[in-house]
């Protein structure tokens, strides 16, 4: 009798299909970003892929943890270290992969593993993710424009970016909590 009750409990605890998809995206998207980095650089660094894969797997198990920051940091450091072409279009693909990773990680914290997502939720998250990818593409266009002109020594890009970052950080720190929430 105990075994059958355990089996019933296991059936109840089966993750929803949406959860499986999200976990798969959490693992696969950083690896895709690493792959894109290799394509942009023309060479591969296998230990980084292993590290990113391990960290991504940890993120899939514990989406509420801070392993996601390490994954993004690892991908960024690899990009910084091996990609020499600063206006490469591969950066859009890498940004898209990181967008998927970020969205999947955030989405995985929304609901219990066994809760199925509604169609409207899936559509909204997909729409918003696509919007961020479009924003990345727009950013790439700005980067290309500012770095391919002779007058560009980076000042036109980095000075406003620095100001925007400082203002954004100050503004965001004032809006860090939900009243009555976390």
């Amino acid at each position: 009798m105990t075994n059958e009750r355990d089996e019933r409990a296991e059936d109840r605890d089966q993750p929803a299909r949406s959860t499986v998809v999200l976990r798969a995206l959490i693992v696969s998207s950083p690896l895709a970003a690493v792959g894109v980095t290799w394509l942009a650089a023309g060479r591969a660094v296998l230990p980084v892929a292993l590290l990113v894969g391990l960290l991504a797997a940890l993120c899939a198990v514990h989406p509420d943890s801070h392993f996601g920051v390490l994954v993004v940091a690892a991908v960024a450091i690899e990009w910084l270290a091996i990609v020499d072409h600063h206006a490469t279009a591969w950066s859009i693909a890498a940004a898209a992969a990181l967008t998927v990773f970020h969205a999947a990680l955030a989405a995985a914290t929304l609901a219990p593993e066994t809760a199925p997502w509604t169609l409207a939720m899936r559509r909204r998250w997909t729409r918003r993710g696509a919007a961020l990818i479009v924003a990345s593409a727009a950013m790439w266009v700005i980067v290309v424009v500012t770095t391919t002109h002779a007058w560009s020594d980076g000042t036109w890009l980095f000075a406003p970016a620095l100001l925007i970052l400082a203002a954004g950080a100050t503004w965001a720190s004032r809006r860090a909590t939900w009243a009555g929430g976390r």
């Binding site: 009798m1 960024a76 910084l80 955030a106 989405a107 929304l110 219990p112 918003r128 965001a172 929430g181």
Partner: protein, 413 residues
Amino acid sequence: MLAGAAVLGHRPDLLVLAAPFVGAAVWAALLRPTTPLTVHQSMGHPTLSEGDATTWRFSVDDPGCHADDIAVRLRVPEWIVAQPADGAAAAGLRDDGDRVLDIGVRATRWGRHRVGPARVVASSAWAGFQWVSESGLDARSLLTLPRTTHFDATAGSVHRPGLIGVNRSPRQSAGTEFASIRPFQPGDRLRRIHWSRSLRTGTLHVTSTWADHDRHVVLLVEGFDDIGRSEGIDGSTSSLDLTLRAAGSIAEHFLEVGDRVALVVLDNRGIHRLPAAGGSRHLRRLLETLSTTDPTGRLNDTGRVPRGLHPGALVVMLSPLASPTALERAVTMAAHGRSVVVVDCLPRDITQQFPGDPLAGVAWRIRSLERALEIERAGESGVAVVQWRGPGSLDQVLRNMRSNATERSQRPT
């Protein structure tokens, strides 16, 4: 972090990688919720029958309209099946309709189940901010009544005194149903005289009627043991499942035909009584009492006959007859002049319910042989034992008891 590295390291390509994170952060901060949410929960029906389902509804009041998604996790105990599975559900607050989240709750076995508490989490855009319900979403009690099957006993009633019910007594007495026209006897009422027959024959004749009969049934339920494997309403049944469902079905039948039914439940916590009464409300009370039967107490069956049983009642005793004590109790009641029917509620496949334990199967086969002997001896003492096989199980026994009672009533004294 990425944007900072891009700026400080003069790497514009990192700004492209940073763009989605900055965008999501700004998006989340712009849509930051400023007012707490209010969550209401309600349960469709606090009382169900086995196999029935109700809806647990959560509604969210979001005055700021900044919460995007809501997720609920309802704690469900054993014998409760939630839909979606595990009592977990998620929905978009605005794009999924009316800010209501429903979780189906289906009870698969009788008893009082505590469902909940629930935890509700609301998230804003990009899950940037989350609101978790802290209190106010308490657990609720869900009473599940045993499932009754329509019991189709067609046998007539056993002779019992009383003049209220709708059953025709085997005796002729004051009543409403015509029986015969017979010669006048001292004591007959004058209004019963059949004048046309009397004038034609020259002697007084009266119309006789069958007495209306009130049946008083006592259901004596033994809940000391729960033998066998229970899988709820959808699977195999344990002895207590059979006992309670049979008791509910028998009670429903007798109450439907206008009889009065009393209930005495013996379990390891003591004796629980429900006085005799009739009607659908009484059936509800009776099922509620049955559903609180608890075999996990510390008292043991002493074999004593519970006091206060109506002397003229038909006692229907429901028991798995796991120990000889149960039949001894029935024999004692029969020896005191009560009409006793024992309904055997041991699952018929009890010897096959322990596939991993061959000794248990052998033990139950030996016990079954002993039970057969005990049942035979009880029959010799005037106690009818019938195995519960669903509707109609008691028909043959009631017919036999009725014919015996008729013979006794017609025997010259």
